[in-house]
Assembly symmetry: C2
Homo-oligomer: 303 residues x 2
């Protein structure tokens, strides 16, 4: 079993972007600082999208300007060259871009064919390489598409091969609508690990059908050691029918630490970040099984 | 991967016993009939405990008298000889009895030492054998005790060996407070399967910390093919601090069928049983991720 994993906290982007309430850059920074204090080693801090389309992500450059410099791996999502230029100007050292494995999803979500979407992503990778910025590429709907149903593993592998060949630092395999099961997770991740190695692969699961932790376990068994998660299980995708929140950071940390897999995250300090989030968006549900149930008696983090 | 599993529905006992509202025997039978119509192959239909202590389980003999004869594996929980005599008189063909792996839990839960509790269980097994009734034995707090913390695997194996030696038909390994993680599940179940074979072992998980489906997957990988589950995730244990509901039947069925593991259960008819339950206890939360999210597009049950 893997001894140590990296949890990439996506709440400040993937989580907050879906909330009705728009937090100020200062509030977003406070949340990020609480997450850093809890020991999160990687954080997606915002996105450079149109502030009219996604008001919650406006002023991401101000958030980035305020980030403490401390070895935490910060990234920001970028949809196109305009966003990329803003990201570069902000000084962020890693950008994420997204392409769906499903053609229909690309057409419905971003009004591009898969070929067009791939061209955009490949350009962003080339720009990032030139500028010394890490390029993370999200392959969304990697198992299931809300329009097309099951996705062939071959399509995911081909897409990953193309973005790796172009110089992507990391590929994130995303179950956008939370329909992957652990057997499907194991099957796809095993093929991807065989092809590309585990070190450059991350998994991104949603808990839509309650299988997120099961899928994490299945991916962990394949050697995957980096996982996206969202504090309070915030998230979902406004463009993906039936999608719900990301795997819950608090529950993920507990599961890993209980298994003896180190996350470097302090559960109690994570609860402080959770409290901050709850106060910032009091009208939204904040999920989490272990926060509700409490840690088992005598629980110790992995050492 | 296992091709076929048996889900033992415990909602009519483990679920309903914890509800504030007491259903009539007729209502309990209606629920059981809806579960049978959905294809549940095994159902825990009630318990023979004091109706003063657990009013919701009063008249279990009337429920049993009304059960259709159809090959479904019915069982009822029995705490002691008095309960056993009532169970025998009811005509039920399988009884369940419980002993905690943790001594402190036995003392707090049933005011017996583990030795006393074991003596009761061994007597019940002997009585059952004599009468041609199956004896299922639940080993509760098999991974974690709310008072003692982590339980040594050796203690579970020793206890299982004693009840199997006495003639138990089946041993149910129960994570009473929902604190097992998938690595701990895999470790214990692998040892138990090596020792006793998978065919006589069942797993019983609670979703207290969100890991129930992950634990089911880990146990399935060890060869376990029978699982307790509760419709709507009803359940918990009034005597176990921090316990919450059982693994949700609906989500479990979806996970298995999605993986190509046959349950024999019709998801749409299971939704009908869920609706019936919701109407019977409208004030109680009915859980379920897949019922809320819906089945993915083009989903087909395992064939």
């Amino acid at each position: 079993m893997t001894e140590k994993v990296v949890i990439n906290e996506v709440g400040p982007r993937d989580g907050l972007q879906n909330q009705a309430r728009v937090l100020s850059p200062e509030q977003r920074l406070q949340l990020i600082e609480a997450l850093i204090a809890a020991g999160l080693p990687a954080i997606e801090v915002g996105s450079f999208v149109s502030p009219r389309a996604v008001p919650a992500m406006a002023d991401t450059d101000r958030v980035i300007a305020g980030l403490p410099r401390n070895g935490v791996y910060y990234s920001a999502l970028v949809p196109n060259r305009k966003g990329y230029e803003l990201a570069r100007a902000s000084g962020i050292k890693a950008i994420g871009s997204v392409i769906a494995t499903s053609n229909t999803f690309n057409e419905k979500n971003i009004r591009m064919s898969s070929a067009q979407a791939l061209a955009v992503v490949l350009d962003l990778i080339a720009d990032s390489k030139r500028d010394g910025i890490d390029a993370l590429v999200y392959l969304s709907t990697a198992w299931e598409c809300p329009y097309e149903g099951r996705i062939e593993a071959r399509a995911v592998i081909d897409l990953a091969a193309q973005v790796f060949a172009a110089g992507a630092t990391e590929v994130v395999i995303a179950d956008t609508i939370g329909a992957a099961d652990p057997a499907a997770t194991a099957a796809l991740m095993k093929m991807l690990v065989d092809e590309f190695g585990a070190a450059r692969l991350t998994c991104h699961f949603h808990d839509t059908r309650g299988m997120a932790l099961a899928n994490v376990y299945a991916a962990l068994e394949c050697g995957i050691a980096k996982f996206d998660a969202s504090i309070g299980g915030l998230g979902g995708c406004p463009f993906a029918p039936g999608a719900s929140g990301n795997v819950i950071t608090e529950d993920l940390v507990f599961m890993f630490e209980s298994m003896g897999v180190k996350t470097g995250i302090d559960f109690q300090k994570l609860m402080a970040a959770r409290d901050l989030l709850r106060k910032a968006i009091p009208e939204e549900p904040i999920y989490g099984h272990t926060p509700e149930a409490g840690l088992p008696k005598g629980f110790r983090a992995a050492a």
